[in-house]
Amino acid sequence: MSLKKIEEKKKEWENGTLKPVLDKYPERKESFSTGSWLPVERVTLPEEFSEEEFLSKIGFPGEFPYTRGVQPTMYRGRLWTMRQYAGFGTAEESNKRYKYLLDQGQTGLSVAFDLPTQIGYDSDSDYAVGEVGKVGVAIDTLKDMEILFGGIPLDKVSTSMTINAPASVLLAFYIAVAEKQGVSRDKLRGTIQNDILKEYIARGTYIFPPKPSLRLITNIFEFCSREVPKWNTISISGYHIREAGSTAVQEVAFTIADGIEYVKAAINAGLDVDKFAGRLSFFFNSYNDLFEEVAKFRAARRIWAKVMKEKFNAKNPGSMKLRFHTQTGGSTLTAQQPDNNIVRVAIQTLAAVLGGTQSLHTNSRDEALGLPTEESVRIALRTQQIVAHESGVTDTVDPLAGSYYVESLTDKIEEQAWQYLNKIEDLGGMVHAIEAGFVQQEIQDVAYRYQREIESGDRVVVGVNKFVIEEEGPKDILKVDPKLRQVQMEKLAEVKKNRSNETVEQKLNELREGAKDPSKNLMPLIVDAAKEYASLGEICGVLREEFGEYKESIVL
């Protein structure tokens, strides 16, 4: 509700100052909207609010509902973690890239795995033809993991691993490597993405059906709460949902709906919410529309806090804080005039920082062409460092709070997100909603609309449908050696020769027996098998047999 006097003055302004200008110079469009089609007003005015409203809706950073941030000092205390997603080819090459990035000032590692690894296949599998080492590093056994982290002290560096269906196995590898370094489990810091629901929705690297997948996830929650307490056991992701073409509202709503499903699953498995919820983390996208994105992050924090407090009765404040990693939107970057992408990423970085992210990956300018070259990834890192050290935005907490526009956007996004959350609740929860194809259909429809706007020119993409130039092909792109599969296969054969195949067989059988018993936590069994150099494909193979494979539920 607008304040009365201001409302009156607004009418005067519209008739007196605005109208003459509009008559002479009409606006560029009939109506304006955000990137996600939320209506945008010409000017936003302050609304009447009570102190109670301020305190309950906005409040203070580090306090419920955390709209302004999850810590009271935010970047005044500590900058976000600069964590560039990297990995390709062999463990040796990736190891080199990690050391380079750490040297250049990166403060945490983020591991990208190749598709066969993400889907639980070894490099010698038929499914791995053409794919080994292409989108990330190929990891077949503990041996590859040892090389990957060779010379990197796991007690000093936190590592995020983008791995989902076989997250348990890669975590097991990581724990085993740390053990060999003499680092105890309780010192390990890091994250596994471990978010299978979004795989069904938008990313596609699933293996097993929902029920056994949720079991593995809750096994990890339970295991880590005891053994690896500093580990973030899941990174509930909206990034990929956005990349699949969703709106900002859908990104928030579907991600939180996934989160709700995981919390439910864990509680049903007998875990106490305050024992694991503090280690849940999130992963969002940072897209083009600056203010919409900032509003989105604030709305997300507020919603999650309410969900945890009111729906799940969490008592520990840590359980209610939405901590998140952000990646700038890959799908906004263009193959045409790639240097323009540096500018796009800078704006998206600003959005993420003004939105209060805990860690950030910035995409490189060659995103639409291939994996980043060293120079490109350095520029991406510098982008973060310039915002951090030169722009001043880090010196106060939640600077955009109080902006009439941003607060109204925050409210709007929250309101619409709740509508989705209620709808999904009516459908029986996220698993049911996904099986019914509801989520996928919602995303596809808006993705189609978005693309049509680009095709028609209604939505401008600089360099693609406007300000286009004749271009030569780009010169310097990273290429992955196609002979890589052969190299990996030889390595794998070597490992299989040198290990005790009998022991591996035994451990795999123990895992198989454990899988049959839904009350058994599989993590210790997986760790045991991993230590004996059982391969990722072998471990996942056993689970594939016991759990079956997920069948895509497609809607078009």
Binding site: G428, E435, A436, K551, E552, I554, L556
Partner: protein
């Protein structure tokens, strides 16, 4: 080997080509059917229909697995509606059956319901003949049961499975009455969902209102979950049992003969219509006739009878 021989020998490319010929109503169509029709009659045709979202394709996917295990060769024709706006179509049924794409004993073909000359039922009927002649033991015909067209298509089947799901509620009543009539076996898919028993009850109630003239027995209602792979064995058994039953009673032969009769009548109608239109030079004359009626010079019947009368006279003269 001639083209039709390749088809009956089971060459995939030729079968696919033959299906295109009948779909597109190519000039070679009639000759092809002439050549292959004596190889028809071995296959059993299962019809699968129901509203969109019922999970038909997922069910068919499981059915294919069972049939393959029993050593049967399976052909699937999945009919989807064309867009009334663009005339194009996204044919997405086979998605859910793609695991069978590399099985030599399975042939899946997607058809759009596009404005077929003669209707999609003629094209589908011929497509079934092609797969039959090519040696497939079971041919599954899948359509969305929402319109008259789809009901017509279903008449091609020897046994018809109607698939419903919970959440449709009162929509069962709203479903085209004809669809409930033609179902031989009723399936409630997504049977683990809330409301499944209610759907079963509603179907059984509707069935009790009608008399089963043919066998005097109750039509089966089967609960399945394609997602959980439950109830499928029962469903397949039920289909097999039904086929055996109507074979034994001679009913299958009766149905097939009735179908042939319908087909002959339909094609005859179509050809007569085509011939008359051609003979009358219909398209060119139409504008003049319309003006004459609009201008109140002649009634519509006068126009038609005078034109039609001409043909009868001409035929008699010949």
């Amino acid at each position: 080997m001639s083209f039709s021989e390749k088809v009956t020998q089971g060459d995939i490319r030729s079968i696919a080509r033959a299906l295109s010929i009948v779909e597109n109503n190519d000039p070679e169509k009639e000759e092809l059917i002439d050549k292959i029709h004596k190889f028809c009659g071995n296959a059993v045709v299962w019809g699968v229909t129901g509203p969109p979202g019922a999970g038909k394709s997922s069910l068919v996917d499981h059915i294919i697995t069972r049939l393959r295990k029993a050593g049967k060769k399976v052909g699937i024709i999945a009919v989807d509606p064309s867009s009334p706006f663009s005339g194009g179509a996204i044919l997405g049924d086979r998605l859910r059956m793609q695991s069978h794409a590399v099985d030599e004993g399975v042939f899946i073909r997607s058809m759009a319901s596009r404005g077929h000359l003669g209707g999609v039922s003629e094209a589908t009927g011929d497509a079934v003949k092609v797969l039959d002649a090519a040696g497939y033991d079971v041919i599954i015909l899948e359509t969305i049961g929402v319109g008259q067209t789809e009901i017509d298509v279903m008449q091609i089947a020897d046994v018809i499975m109607l698939v419903l799901v919970p959440g449709l509620g009162d929509e069962i009543q709203a479903l085209k009455a004809g669809i409930m009539e033609i179902g031989d076996i009723f399936v409630v898919n997504k049977s683990d969902k809330h409301g499944a028993d209610k759907v079963r009850a509603e179907i059984e109630y509707m069935l009790s209102l009608k008399q089963d003239n043919e066998t005097g027995e109750k039509k089966p209602v089967i609960m399945t979950s394609a997602l959980k792979d439950e109830g499928i064995d029962e469903l397949v058994e039920s289909m097999d049992f039904f086929i055996k039953k109507i074979s034994d009673t001679g009913d299958l032969e009766r149905r097939r003969k009735k179908r042939i009769e319908l087909e002959i009548r339909k094609i005859l109608s179509r050809k007569v219509e085509e011939a008359v239109h051609y003979n009358l030079n219909l398209e060119n004359k139409m504008k003049k006739w319309v003006s004459s009626v609009f201008g109140k010079e002649n009634s519509v019947y006068h126009i038609v009878n005078s034109q039609f009368g001409k043909i009868i006279k001409e035929q008699k003269a010949k």
